[in-house]
C-alpha cells in the first residue's frame, strides 16, 4: 500500500477518454513525474489528485484516506501552477501565508513559517514585494513556498517551469528537487520535457492517449522502454528498416548488411520487415571487439557543436544513422565522404512493433487535438 494510491482511475470528457485505467502507487517522499505529449492525460490525472476534476470511476487515496470525491479545499494537497497563480493583490509574505490564514493559525506561527519558507527559497528580502515586482523564476519560487506552507501531504506541480527561460528552468528544477528532498514530501510533477522528468524523478510515468505506457525509474524508462511509444518519445533514436533473415536466430538485414539481435524474433518470419531502434549514444565509430554488430556507410555530414560532434552516416543500404561523439582535440574526426564502420552491441537493438513515423504522426495529431484512435504500441523487446 503506497502513500498516494490511484486505482483504476478513469476520466472522460464527453466521448473523449482523457484518462483510462490509471494505476499508481507512490511511496512517501517519492518524486513521480507524469511525462507525455500534450493531450495524453497527465494534467487531467494531476487535477484529479488535486480535486479540480473528479474521476468517472476508480479511487484516489492519500495515506489510506479516500479523497476521490472530496473537494479540493479538503484534501491537503499543495499545487504549483504553470502560470504561477500568485494573488496579485497580496505581497510575497501574504501569498505564502494565505493557506495558513485560511486555516486560522496564530499570527506568530504564520510569520515564523513564512520566514522559514522564504529562507528556503532564498528570498527573505522579497517578503514585501508584490508579484508583479518579481521575475518569473522568483514568482514560481514563491508559488512553491505558498504550496508548501500548508504542509500538504502531497505536492503537485503542473509544468511549473514551462513558462521560464531555459537557464532559469535548469537552476529552478535543481532547487525544486533539493527542497523536495529536504522536506521529504511526496511529489507528483507533470511535464512534457523528458530531460526534466528524467533528471528530477525517482520514477517516471510515461503516458500516451490517456494510458500509462510505462512506469519505471528514469534509467529503466530510457534504457528498457516497454513500448515503441516510450522508446520514441523518451530520448532520441535512429530508426532503421530491417528485413528479417532468420527469425529464430534473431538475424536481420539492414540494406544488405546483416546484424544480430540479442533475442530471436518469435513472431516474425523471414518475409517480414521490422523496425529497429538504436540509441545514438550506443553507436561507436571504433570497431568494438567481440560479437558487436557492424554497419558500413559513408559520412554524410559532421557537425561541430562544441563539446560534442554530431556525425550523420548514410549506410550502404540507404538508411541513415546519426550519433554524437564527445569532442576530443586529440582524436581525428571523420571527414565528409569518408567510408566508416560503426558498431553497436546486439543488446542495443530495440525491435519496434509500431513504426516510429506512425507514433510521431499520432503524437503530432494528438497535440493538434485530433486524437486518432491509434492503439498504443505493444510490447517491444531488446
Amino acid at each position: 500500500m503506497g502513500f498516494l494510491e490511484l486505482t483504476h482511475v478513469k476520466k472522460a470528457f464527453g466521448s473523449f477518454t482523457a484518462v483510462e485505467d490509471f494505476m499508481l502507487s507512490a511511496e512517501p517522499g517519492e518524486f513521480v513525474s507524469f511525462l507525455g505529449p500534450s493531450g495524453c492525460g497527465k494534467t487531467t490525472t494531476l487535477r484529479m489528485i488535486a480535486g479540480f476534476e473528479y474521476p468517472d470511476s476508480g479511487s484516489i487515496k492519500v495515506d489510506g484516506r479516500e479523497i476521490t470525491n472530496l473537494p479540493p479545499n479538503k484534501r491537503n494537497v499543495g499545487m504549483v501552477f504553470q502560470a504561477y497563480a500568485l494573488f496579485p493583490n497580496m505581497t510575497v509574505a501574504d501569498n505564502v501565508g494565505f493557506g495558513m490564514r485560511i486555516k486560522k493559525q496564530p499570527k506568530v506561527a504564520i510569520k515564523k513559517r513564512v520566514g522559514e519558507l522564504l529562507e528556503l527559497i532564498n528570498m527573505p528580502e522579497k517578503a514585501d514585494r508584490y508579484p508583479y515586482q518579481l521575475s518569473g523564476g522568483q514568482q514560481q519560487r514563491v508559488a512553491l513556498a505558498r504550496a508548501l506552507a500548508i504542509e500538504p501531504q502531497v505536492l503537485l506541480l503542473d509544468e511549473p517551469l514551462s513558462a521560464l527561460d531555459a537557464k532559469i528552468r535548469v537552476s529552478l528544477r535543481t532547487e525544486i528537487r533539493s527542497i523536495q528532498r529536504k522536506l521529504g514530501i511526496t511529489t507528483v510533477y507533470v511535464t512534457h520535457d523528458q530531460e526534466e522528468a528524467l533528471s528530477l524523478s525517482d520514477r517516471v510515468v510515461v503516458m500516451s492517449q490517456g494510458r500509462i505506457e510505462q512506469i519505471g525509474t528514469p534509467f529503466e524508462i530510457y534504457n528498457f522502454p516497454a513500448t515503441a511509444f516510450v522508446a520514441t518519445f523518451v530520448g532520441t533514436l535512429n530508426a532503421l528498416h530491417a528485413d528479417v533473415v532468420d527469425a529464430a536466430a534473431g538475424i536481420v538485414s539492414i540494406g544488405g548488411q546483416q546484424i544480430r539481435l540479442a533475442r530471436p524474433l518469435d513472431r516474425a518470419d523471414h518475409r517480414k520487415t521490422v523496425e529497429i531502434a538504436l540509441r545514438p549514444e550506443i553507436i561507436t565509430l571504433r570497431d568494438a571487439a567481440g560479437d558487436a554488430n557492424r554497419l558500413t556507410g559513408t559520412v554524410d555530414r559532421v557537425t561541430f557543436l562544441g563539446s560534442i560532434v554530431r556525425v550523420r552516416i548514410v549506410l550502404d543500404g540507404g538508411d541513415v544513422v546519426s550519433f554524437d561523439t564527445f569532442n576530443n582535440p586529440h582524436l581525428a574526426v571523420p571527414a565528409d565522404g569518408e567510408r566508416v564502420t560503426v558498431s553497436f552491441p546486439p543488446e542495443a537493438c530495440l525491435v519496434l512493433d509500431q513504426s516510429v513515423a506512425e507514433i510521431k504522426a499520432a503524437v503530432a495529431q494528438a497535440e493538434d487535438g485530433l486524437l486518432p484512435g491509434v492503439d498504443s504500441a505493444s510490447d517491444i523487446r531488446p
Binding site: A83, L86, F98, G99, K103, I150, A163
Partner: protein, 263 residues
C-alpha cells in the same frame, strides 16, 4: 511632412472633441450666469433644502443599487466564466435587455406586479424605494456586467481560484479575498457608472413618486429659469468628481497582473 500633417489632423480632431463636449457646458454656464445678481442661480439652487435632500436620497439609492448589483453580478459573472463559459453569450444578451426595454415599460411592469397583494411594495415608502433600487439594478446591468466581466477577463480566475482552493479556501473566501480585491478598478468603474445613471435617472423615480434628484431637476426646470442650469452644472461637477475618484483610487498599481509572464 507626412508626420506633420498627421499631427495637425490629430490636433484638429482633439479640438473638435473639446468643442463638442465643452460648448454645451459653456453655454449652460453662460445661461446660468445671466441671472441677476450673478451666481444667484447657484446660490438659490444650493439654498433649496430639496436640492440636498433629493441629492442625498439619490446617493443612498445609488449606493444601495451598487451593493445589490455587485452582490448579484460578481458571483454570476465569476461563475459563468469559471464553470459555464458557454452560457456567457446568453448572460450578455440578458444584460443588454435594458437597452431595448424602455424604462417606462420596466416601471409600469414593476408597479403592476408590486402594487397589489400579495406584494404591495408601492404602498410604503420603503417598498417603493426597494422597487426603485430593483429598477436601477436592471438599468445598470449592461454597464456593471461589462465592467465586472472585463475585470474578470484581465485576471486568470481559474488558476487563482484553484490555487486558493488547494490552500483550503471555500467559495466565499475566494470571492471575498482573492477575486474582489483584484477587480477593484473594474468594480469602481461599474459603481461610478451606476451612480451616474442613478443621479440622472428620471422616469422610474418619477413614476414611483420618489423624491430623487432626477425628478427634482425636472420639477425645477418647470418652475424656474436659471436654477436648473446651475443644478445641471453642479450635478455634472459631482459626476466629474466621481470620475476623478476612480482615477485616483485606480492609480494604485498593486493589482497589476502579470500571470504567466517569463522574465
Amino acid at each position: 511632412m507626412k508626420r506633420r500633417r498627421g499631427g495637425i489632423a490629430w490636433w484638429l480632431v482633439f479640438l473638435l472633441a473639446v468643442l463638442y463636449f465643452f460648448l454645451p457646458l459653456v453655454a449652460t454656464l453662460d445661461f446660468a450666469l445671466k441671472a441677476k445678481p450673478p451666481f444667484s442661480a447657484f446660490t438659490n439652487a444650493v439654498q433649496d433644502p430639496k436640492f440636498f435632500s433629493s441629492l442625498l436620497y439619490s446617493l443612498v439609492i445609488g449606493v444601495l443599487t451598487i451593493v445589490a448589483s455587485l452582490s448579484l453580478i460578481v458571483p454570476t459573472a465569476y461563475w459563468v466564466q469559471l464553470k459555464v463559459p458557454r452560457a456567457r453569450s446568453l448572460v450578455e444578451f440578458v444584460t443588454l435587455l435594458p437597452f431595448v426595454i424602455p424604462a417606462v415599460v420596466l416601471v409600469f411592469g414593476l408597479i403592476r406586479v408590486y402594487s397589489q397583494p400579495p406584494l404591495p411594495f408601492t404602498h410604503t415608502d420603503i417598498g417603493s424605494s426597494a422597487l426603485l433600487v430593483a429598477g436601477y439594478i436592471v438599468l445598470s446591468l449592461p454597464y456593471m456586467y461589462r465592467a465586472v466581466d472585463t475585470g474578470l477577463r484581465a485576471i486568470d480566475i481559474r488558476s487563482l481560484t484553484e490555487a486558493a482552493q488547494s490552500m483550503g479556501a471555500g467559495w466565499v473566501t475566494i470571492i471575498w479575498r482573492v477575486i474582489l480585491p483584484n477587480l477593484r478598478v473594474a468594480l469602481l468603474s461599474g459603481a461610478f457608472l451606476t451612480l451616474a445613471i442613478v443621479l440622472g435617472e428620471f422616469t422610474i423615480a418619477n413614476f414611483l413618486a420618489r423624491p430623487a434628484f432626477g425628478p427634482y431637476l425636472n420639477l425645477l426646470s418647470q418652475q424656474k429659469a436659471y436654477e436648473p442650469a446651475a443644478v445641471a452644472l453642479i450635478s455634472f461637477g459631482l459626476t466629474w468628481l466621481a470620475m476623478i475618484a476612480i482615477a485616483f483610487i485606480g492609480r494604485d498599481t498593486r493589482t497589476r497582473i502579470e500571470i504567466g509572464g517569463a522574465h
